[in-house]
């Protein structure tokens, strides 16, 4: 799952939202989209009916097509969690139930377990599909603005904004350091991999610490007193 959805891949998805004209769901107000997604996910978990989950997945897929998202992104976001869902379905199939359906070695698969697993898998897939619909049709800055509008504590929103802003940067630094260490033979075995990764993590923390100091100084130079409200500005399309 993680091997397919990487930060770089997500960066491309985010970038594509600012390119070209906006269609379908992308033109809607961020507040409507976030509230609709929350309602869909809550109803999916609370009612736990397969027909409802199936309908909601269909609606999410339609929303993506309606918004003219790239077909690669649609497939990636809809099918990437499939591996985890499969593990869940299989695990429940032999973990619960009364009526055996078939036996595979020491494992017996039960009718009730399979039904429960499929139901749970469908719910997971539905939640992920709606989260994906929200994320690939709404820039993250808009989502942050909606969170602020929903009175989510400012510290949390600002932290989310910082995390989103700097996670890509830290990951790039980590990749460069890791490639460099690999070229020097620093990832030769299990122990050296742990040691090198630890040293890189320490180095990245120090860089983050220094960067945080510089950001603070820059904010103060611009008249900020570290008050909440530092959500990124709106990007005009």
């Amino acid at each position: 799952m993680a091997g397919q959805l990487s930060l770089q891949e997500f960066f491309r998805v985010e970038k594509s939202q600012y390119e070209g004209p906006a269609y379908g769901w992308r033109r809607w107000d961020g507040r409507v989209k976030v509230v609709l997604a929350l309602v869909a996910m809550t109803a999916n978990v609370l009612f736990a009916r397969p027909w409802l989950s199936g309908t909601l997945i269909g609606l999410a897929a339609l929303g993506m097509v309606y918004s003219r998202c790239h077909w690669k992104h649609i497939l990636l976001f809809l099918f990437a969690p499939g591996w985890a869902v499969l593990v869940l379905v299989l695990g429940m199939s032999f973990g619960f139930g009364v009526q055996p359906v078939f036996r595979m070695g020491p494992l017996t698969f039960y009718r009730e377990g399979i039904a429960m697993g499929l139901n749970a898998g469908l719910r997971v897939a539905t939640d992920l599909a709606w989260a994906s619909l929200l994320v690939i049709t709404t820039p993250f800055a808009d989502i942050l603005r909606v969170l602020r509008w929903m009175r989510v504590p400012g510290v949390l929103v600002d932290t989310l904004a910082f995390m989103y802003r700097y996670a890509f940067l830290l990951f790039d630094e980590f990749s460069a350091m890791r490639n460099s260490a690999k070229a020097r033979g620093g990832l030769a075995n299990f122990r050296s991999t742990g040691r090198t990764s630890g040293m890189i993590a320490g180095r990245i923390f120090l860089r983050s610490y220094d960067r945080a100091d510089r950001i603070q100084m820059a904010m103060q130079a611009r008249g900020s007193e570290s008050a909440p409200g530092s959500t990124p500005p709106t990007v005009e399309r």
Binding site: G3, T159, L170, G198
Partner: protein, 335 residues
């Protein structure tokens, strides 16, 4: 998090950067099952050591939300449970282990490494407990009891999370050590180490404490095994059983043979000192591994316990004499 920002308003960007750091650490891919899939370190024990457990729980919640939205990791509906296990319990367990290690006088790297290990294991233990309780008492048609589900889930977690816990230990230990070596003032400003005497923990004391702890643990394990109740089949047979006609008995192992001979002779058999059959394979393997670990540590560090520093020479007498002889030999002139 609010308290952190209120106490130190100038540290607000640090909070965000630390959040990005936790998010990034939890995205590091660690291959599992020989590369068939991958897993991710928790990162929360490291963050808890640096920023405290309360702040870490908030940062973990933010990181999990981003992961659920961007990468389909964790999930939206399980956000609360994940925050509880990963952020609150994992971070707090790691933090407390680190503090305990420092109080015991262990070195910075050892304390941080153990904090990473304990934080990771605590996270997954709580996951097992939550899932086991749910499956056994809430979900319909359960196949096992709580302990049964706990064993199954533990076995399912072990191949991936076992090596991952070791990786987390190495990464956390080396990361804190690297920060200390490069910029100790950063750890001082975050309150991780004491400003007055950052190097107060000595490696000798750490080795002694670790050896004693392992010794106690190993002895507890041996005592637990030896105090085991004997299974019913080891009890002396009743007279009626001996008199009754029995078919030809085949013996599968030496123990069965001696049992059978004792039974025929009418002598009661003693229960086994270490009853491997009475316990399951996992417990026996764990005892064996614990014994190996204790033996290895004692063999390697016994001198820390019994020989005083600056006392007698640790080099054996014969080796010392030969070394002396070699040193006193005149060196050949080079042409």
């Amino acid at each position: 998090m609010r308290k952190f920002v209120k106490d130190q308003p100038s540290r607000k960007p640090l909070l965000g950067m630390a959040g990005a750091f936790v998010f990034f650490v939890s995205l590091m891919h660690i291959p599992a099952f020989g590369g068939a899939t991958c897993s991710h370190p928790c990162g929360t024990p490291l963050a808890a050591i640096l920023l405290g457990p309360g702040v870490t729980a908030g940062l973990a919640a933010c990181g999990l939300l981003l992961q659920a939205l961007f990468f389909a990791h964790g999930g939206i509906s399980t956000l609360g449970a994940n925050t509880l296990t990963l952020g609150l319990v994992g971070g707090s367990a790691g933090y407390l282990t680190f503090k305990l290690g420092r109080k015991l006088g262990w070195s910075l790297g050892v304390s941080a490494g153990l904090a990473g290990l304990v934080g990771d294991v605590a996270t997954y233990m709580l996951n097992i407990v939550i899932l086991g309780l749910h499956f056994a008492y809430v979900a319909p048609h359960p196949q096992y009891t709580f302990w049964g589900y706990a064993k199954v889930l533990g076995l399912a977690y072990l191949p991936v999370q076992g090596p991952l816990a070791v990786v987390e230990m190495l990464v956390t230990g080396y990361a804190i050590q690297a920060i200390f070596r490069q910029r100790p003032e950063v750890l001082e400003s975050l309150g991780v180490i004491d400003k007055a005497d950052p190097k107060k923990a000595g490696s000798k004391r750490a080795g002694q404490t670790a050896a004693v702890l392992l010794l106690v643990l190993g002895l507890c394990g041996v005592a637990r095994v030896s105090a085991a109740d004997s299974p019913p089949s080891r009890q002396p047979a009743a007279v009626s059983d001996v008199v009754a006609p029995t078919p030809v008995v085949t013996y599968s192992a030496l123990d069965d043979l001696t049992d059978g001979m004792a039974e025929k002779a009418g002598t009661p058999t003693k229960p086994y000192w270490i009853d491997l059959e009475g316990y399951h394979d996992i417990w026996s393997s764990l005892c064996m591994l614990a014994g190996l670990a204790v033996g290895f540590v004692l063999g390697r560090y016994w001198h820390l316990l019994f020989i005083k520093e600056g006392g007698e020479s640790r080099v054996p007498v014969a080796a010392a004499k030969s070394l002396e002889k070699k040193r006193s030999r005149p060196s050949r002139p080079r042409s």
